[in-house]
Amino acid sequence: MEGMELASFQIIAAVGGARSSVMEALKDAREGNYEAASAKLEEANQFLAEAHKGHTGLIQKEAQGEQVPFSLLFMHAEDQLMTTITLRDIAMEMIEMYKKIG
């Protein structure tokens, strides 16, 4: 698998891992396992850092004047990354809410 396709897929994979970790963190918090939830969030952050690296690399290429071909797959990768970051941010607040309610 070459260039953009591989870069997009790497992002999609890392983001997928992050998304699952965030959902698992929420489940843990809902069940009162706050330490487990914290560990899962940390896992999610590591996945997101990985995804971000790949993403930033491509953005920098374009900023340096190199043509970065646009594709549906890359758009999907970008969309998954942005929405999972948002999900992570909201999950952090929700976990605090669970602590308050629980």
């Binding site: 396709e5 897929f9 790497q10 994979a13 997928g16 959902m23 698992e24 797959l73």
Partner: protein, 102 residues
């Protein structure tokens, strides 16, 4: 062997399906491989020998475990490294092992 792949919308797994079909053909094996979005899994599962989920569905795996036992169709999450590289051969191997070890 009938292999069902699933991810949230079926976009990334569709690409993987093509890679897996290429790998199967190269190995001289005949397989039925297809991908669906997560909402179609309960019905499509009945037509498969094994089901593999994308990393973004990892947190949903437990949801399908009962049905998996009921139908005797093993399920697992696609190895994240193999998924990230869109490695048709590796995922084919994972499906094969899942079926033989059930």
């Amino acid at each position: 062997m009938k292999i069902l792949l699933a991810c949230s919308s079926g976009m990334s797994t569709s690409l993987l399906v093509n890679k897996m079909k290429e790998a199967a053909t190269a190995q001289g094996k005949e397989m039925e491989i297809w991908a669906v979005g997560q909402h179609e899994v309960p019905t499509e599962m009945e037509k498969a020998d094994v089901v593999l989920f994308g990393p973004q569905m990892r947190f949903l795996k437990s949801k399908f475990e009962d049905k998996s036992k009921e139908l005797n169709v093993p399920i697992d999450v696609i190895n994240i490294v193999a998924y990230g590289r869109c490695d048709g051969n590796a995922v084919l191997q994972q499906a094969h092992e899942l079926l033989t070890n059930k």
